[in-house]
Symmetry: C2
Subunit: 345 residues, 2 copies
DNA sequence: CTGTTAGCGCGTTCAG
DNA sequence: CTGAACGCGCTAACAG
C-alpha cells in the first residue's frame, strides 16, 4: 500500500554510482559534474525521492526549524507578528514551530521545554502575562541556541530584543489627551511586570508630570486586557466608579478599549465629550468603532519580519555581533475622533 | 563553551549498564526494574539529558509533528482555529508546524511540499483563495499520510473534512433579512471555487427563491474579502452603484462587512434603515461596530479542536474508519441591530 | 570529479 | 530483567 520510502541508496543503485555522489548531487554541490547532477535530479524526481530531514538533522545537528512562543494566537497583534515571521522564515528555508503560553507561566515553561527538546535552531519569545523569571530559557543560553525576545521582552544576557519605544508612545498619546483638555486621565493596562505595560505606565506618568497634572494610584487599572473573557466590563465599571470621574483614559489595547467604549456608552457616557479615549496597537478595530479610536500604530508585521531576520542572520553566522542589541521599531501616534474633545483638527 | 550534548551512551557509561537499558528505562518500558529505571531517570536529569528527536524519528519513522496550512495568519477566524488546534495538539504531545498560503495557490503548493519533506505525521489544510486543483496533496494520500481539510475544504478521496453547514447558515441569515422586509438583497462573497462561498451563495439564492424574490447576477459581488488591502472600498462602491440600490446585503465576512458599513455611512446611507447588513463569523468586531452586526456564529476555536482531535485519533490508530467522514459543526444565527429594519425584537 | 568509510543517537530484534 | 549488535538515511572526511 504505502510504497516504500526511497533513499539516496536506491538512486545510487539505479544509477550505479555511490550514495555520496547522489547526496552531493542532490544538494547541488559544486564539485559534481553537471551531467551527473542532472541525471541524479531527474531520476530522483522520477522515483519520488524526498530527502530525509531527520537523517540529515542527525548528521548536521540542526533542524532548520525556529520556535516561537507567543501569549495567544487569537490576537490581531500576534497574528500580524507571526505573519511577518512566517514570511521571512519560509523565504529562508526555515520552518516555524509555534506555541502559545495562554498567558500562563507554567505553560510557557512547558512550551520552552518542548522547543528545547525539539531542538529548534533558535527561539523567539514574547512573554506570558505573569512570567516572573526566565530561567526556563537558560538551557538555550547554555547550549548556545539563539534566543530572541520581542514585544514583551526580558533583558536576558546575550539576547537581542525587538521592541517599540513604549515609553515614548505612551508619553505622546497622553500628552495628546492633555492637549485636548483632559485634566484627569485614567490608565488601563496590563501587569506591570511586563516591560510593555511598565514602560507605557512610566510614559503616561511622565506626561502627566510634565504638564502639571498629578498622578495617583486610583487612576490606574490593571487588567488582563483580554477581550474574550469579559474583563472589559470590570474595567469599564471601575472607570465609571472613579470619583471624580476621569475625563480621559489611556487604554493599552485597542480591542479592549473598544469594548470599554461600548460599556461607557451603555452607561450614558459620551466619548470623547465626557471621557476621551485612547488605545494602543492600531488594530483594525480602531478604525471601525464609532467614534474611531485614537491609537498608536504598532508595526506588528514588521516586528515579525525584523525578529525573524535578526535571528536567521545570526543562525547563518552573518552577524555574531548584534547579540545583545535591542532593536527599536518606529511607532506613531494616530489621532482619531475618540480623543478629540476640541473637535476635528 | 556549548557543553556537549549527552546521549544514552553517556548515561549508560555513568551507570555501567547498557545503552539499550537506558533507552528502555527512559521510555518507561515495562520490562525494566523499578530501581534501575529510577537510577536512569535521576542521572538523566542530573546530566541534563534530552532525547534526540531526529535519531528517534529516524528510527521510528514518525515526527510527532502535524502540519497546518492556512490562508492567512492575520485573520481572527484563523487565529481562533489555530488556537484550538494548538491546545489539542500540545496536550497530545504533538508539535504544530504552521504555514500560510497568503491566498496563493503557488505558495500553497510550496507549503505542501515543505510539509511533505518535513515528514509531518499529518496535515490539516484550509485552501487558498484561488486553488484550482489539489494534486499537490496527492503525495500525502499516496504515502498514506493523514490529510484533513477544514473550513475551505475539498472532497478528496479518503480525507475527512471539518466544516459548518454553510448553505443552511446562509439560508437562515438571508431568510432573516427577508423577514425584516428586504426585497432586494445583494451578496458580497469570495471566490465561488471555495466551498464556503459556493455553499453560502446557494443558500442565499435558495432563500430568495423560497420567498418569491428573484435573484440576478447583478446582485452578486465577488471580492477578496481582505480587510487589509482596501478592497472594501470597491465593494461598497459597487453596492452603492447598484440600480436600484439594494435594501439589504449579506456579506460573508464580519470584518469586511464592518468596513463596508463604514463606507455606506460615509456615503450617507443609513444602516439598517436604507440597507440592512448581515455578516458572517461572529468576529468580535461584529459586537463593537455601531450598529452591531447581525452574523453567523462560526465555532472557530471548536473547529480547531475537532480537526486536531480527529487527526490525532487517526494517527494513534484509534479510528481508521472515519476517514471519509465529514464533520459538520453547529453554527447559528445571531441577530443584532444591523439587520433590524423593524426595530428591536 | 567520484568513491569508501565511518558515525550521528536511538530503538529493536535476538540472546541470554 | 538486561546486553550485544545492527541499521534507520545522510554527510563529511579522506582518498583517489
Amino acid at each position: 500500500m504505502k510504497n516504500k520510502e526511497i533513499t539516496i541508496y536506491d538512486i545510487a543503485k539505479a544509477l550505479d554510482i555511490s550514495p555520496a555522489t547522489v547526496s552531493r548531487g542532490l544538494r547541488d554541490h559544486p564539485a559534481i559534474n553537471r551531467k551527473t547532477k542532472k541525471k541524479i535530479m531527474d531520476i530522483a524526481k522520477e522515483m519520488g525521492y524526498r530527502s530525509n530531514t531527520f537523517a540529515s538533522s542527525l548528521r548536521l545537528k540542526r533542524t532548520n526549524t525556529i520556535g516561537v512562543i507567543v501569549h495567544r494566537l487569537d490576537s490581531y497583534f500576534v497574528a500580524m507578528v507571526l505573519a511577518g515571521m512566517e514570511k521571512v522564515a519560509s523565504e529562508s528555508g526555515y520552518n516555524l514551530i509555534i506555541s502559545q503560553s495562554l498567558e500562563s507561566m507554567a505553560k510557557e515553561v512547558a512550551n520552552a521545554n518542548t522547543m528545547f527538546n525539539s531542538r529548534v535552531d533558535g527561539l523567539m519569545v514574547s512573554l506570558a502575562y505573569d512570567t516572573e523569571d526566565v530561567s526556563h530559557f537558560d538551557p538555550f543560553i547554555t547550549k548556545g541556541i539563539p534566543l530572541l525576545f520581542f514585544d514583551r521582552v526580558y533583558k536576558h544576557k546575550n539576547c537581542p530584543t525587538v521592541v517599540i519605544d513604549n515609553f515614548k508612545s505612551a508619553y505622546e498619546i497622553t500628552t495628546h489627551l492633555i492637549k485636548q483638555g483632559c485634566k484627569r486621565i485614567a490608565h488601563v493596562t496590563g501587569d506591570l511586570k511586563r516591560n510593555v505595560y511598565a514602560d507605557r505606565f512610566e510614559g503616561y506618568k511622565k506626561a502627566l508630570e510634565d504638564n502639571g497634572l498629578v498622578y495617583s494610584d486610583e487612576l490606574l487599572i490593571i487588567n488582563y486586557l483580554n477581550e474574550h473573557i469579559g474583563h472589559n466590563v470590570d474595567a469599564a465599571q471601575q472607570l465609571l466608579n472613579m470619583n471624580p470621574r476621569p475625563d480621559g483614559v489611556f487604554i493599552t489595547n485597542d480591542a479592549f478599549a473598544a469594548y470599554c467604549m461600548r460599556e461607557l456608552r451603555l452607561a450614558g457616557v459620551a466619548v470623547p465629550q465626557d471621557i476621551a479615549v485612547a488605545g494602543f496597537n492600531n488594530d483594525p478595530i480602531s478604525e471601525l468603532v464609532d467614534p474611531n479610536l485614537t491609537t498608536i500604530n504598532y508595526p506588528s508585521y514588521e516586528m515579525g519580519e525584523v525578529a525573524a531576520k535578526t535571528l536567521i542572520n545570526h543562525l547563518k553566522g552573518e552577524s555574531n555581533m548584534l547579540l545583545t542589541d535591542s532593536i527599536v521599531l518606529k511607532s506613531e501616534l494616530i489621532i482619531r475622533e475618540s480623543s478629540l474633545k476640541k473637535g476635528l483638527l
